[in-house]
């Protein structure tokens, strides 16, 4: 690994000042599970690594604030998968966090790092899209809230400015009853990157939101407002046709080693239909209990 300087600022302002001073020569370090691989293979060569884990204003807490569940920038996948509020109200995010990498990776990897890395295959991205999350970005002019759908630009590129960092991720509180599920396709059981990663949420008012990743330069959010997908009595064939029209933007890379584009597209539809079915079943379970 090439040598670099290391700073561990204790205040947000100091971290932002370091980013402003060093520009493209600075890299932020949270969990490090993506960054350290890239530092070692030389694909990023910063002169300074700024560790965000000492910043007092950023923490690993998950807290309820006005109308949102706020996930601090240092919150790990392990914390998210175990959090009762997330498991209850944002179940697809808990499910997605629980399949990121291995236990060792989940103990270090942060949700903020996962979105900043902006991998098209990021497992948490579809859940964040379906739940309409916001990224709280802190910069020299203060903080701004970026809708997650605008945050992802393309592989490795986000809407974050050079001198901004992610302070937190906000999940809006649900206004309509809904249930969701995260599903994925991998080459093998256990620890693997997804060939298809998908979240589906079915809302009690008949809307279905689906988001998928690993099928193009960025994860994609689509919605069915016709009520067809959410209808437990609608035939699978009709739902499959609806999914085909919703998934037209899927454009898997022909160069990936993980799966062929044809396979990914076929699995996207299969997983999409299964996820719709599971979300409907979960929504029905909720109704019975009440």
């Amino acid at each position: 690994m090439r040598a670099f300087a290391y700073e561990r600022p204790t205040h947000l302002d100091d971290a932002i000042a370091l980013l402003a001073e060093h520009g493209p020569d600075a890299r932020l370090l949270a969990g490090g599970t993506d960054l350290i691989i890239r530092l070692r293979d030389g694909s990023v060569q910063p002169r300074i690594v700024v560790d965000v884990k000492g910043i007092a204003e950023l923490d690993g807490a998950i807290r309820e604030t006005n109308g949102h569940l706020t996930i601090g920038a240092r919150t790990t996948m392990t914390d998210i998968a175990a959090d009762e509020r997330i498991r209850r109200e944002y179940e697809a995010l808990a499910e997605a966090a629980s399949v990121v990498g291995s236990a060792q990776i989940r103990n270090r990897a942060t949700l903020a790092g996962n979105v900043c890395n902006a991998s098209p295959a990021a497992d948490t991205a579809p859940a964040l899209l379906v739940y309409g999350a916001f990224v709280v970005a802190a910069g020299p002019a203060g903080t701004r809230r970026i809708p997650i759908d605008e945050f992802f630009v393309r592989s490795g590129v986000t809407a974050l400015a050079r001198d901004e960092l992610v302070a937190a991720i906000e999940l809006p509180r649900p206004t309509t009853r809904r249930r969701a599920v995260h599903v994925r396709r991998t080459r093998r059981r256990g620890h693997d990157l997804a060939s298809v990663t998908l979240t589906c949420a079915v809302f009690a008012d008949g809307v279905t939101r689906l988001a998928y990743g690993s099928l193009g330069p960025r994860p994609v959010l689509v919605a069915d407002e016709t009520g067809l997908l959410a209808d437990p009595r609608a035939p699978d064939l009709a739902k499959m046709h609806r999914l085909e029209s919703l998934f037209v933007e899927a454009s898997p890379s022909p160069r990936s080693m993980r799966a062929s584009p044809e396979y990914r597209l076929a699995m996207l539809h299969v997983l999409g239909l299964r996820a719709v079915g599971t979300a409907i079943e979960r929504l029905a379970e909720g109704t019975v209990r009440r």
């Binding site: 670099f4 691989i37 060792q104 103990n107």
Partner: protein
């Protein structure tokens, strides 16, 4: 600017104060500076788990963590499992079930298993499989490794 930094960490119960370069990983410092070569270097991308250690109780891939990040932390490596001449129940179970074939992955398997049992002293087979999914065994000794972890859990290995 890339000057080395002094860090203090507790490794296997002993406080160590050392100078480390910012670009050196915890794995490199454990092996090269502290001579703890039980922790293995293998894939260097967080796939194989041969470099697994516990940092403040949590299992991590030490190849994906800078040593400077471990400043102030408590680190347990495979060398910290046995109590003197007495093997840890997991080590004993690995021996008894023949879980170690070539042996290279075993330090990582043991540390992951110890971290798993600390959180979940009586895991199901599926939970052991999931808990050890980040530890590859090129000899494919998974059957015996899983048996060993279940046997150690049965014998109360999670409490140690």
């Amino acid at each position: 600017m890339t000057a080395s930094r002094r860090i203090e960490l507790t490794v296997n119960g002993r406080v160590r104060s050392i100078e480390v370069a910012p670009h050196h990983t915890l794995l490199e410092v454990l092996r090269d500076d502290l001579g703890l070569t039980g922790t293995k270097e293998c894939c260097l991308v967080g796939e194989c788990g041969a470099c697994t250690v516990r940092v403040d109780g949590m299992s991590v891939d030490s190849c994906l963590m800078l040593a400077v990040e471990a400043d102030g932390a408590t680190v347990t490596t495979v060398e910290g499992l046995a109590a003197g001449d007495r093997l840890h129940p997991l080590q004993q179970a690995f021996l008894e079930t023949g879980a170690a074939q070539c042996g290279f992955c075993i330090p990582g398997q043991l540390v992951s298993a110890q971290a798993l049992l600390a959180l979940n002293p009586h895991p199901t087979r599926a939970e052991v499989e999931e808990g050890l999914a980040g530890n590859l065994c090129r000899c494919a000794g998974y059957g015996q490794i899983i048996e060993a972890v279940l046997a150690a859990a049965e014998a109360g290995g999670g409490e140690q």
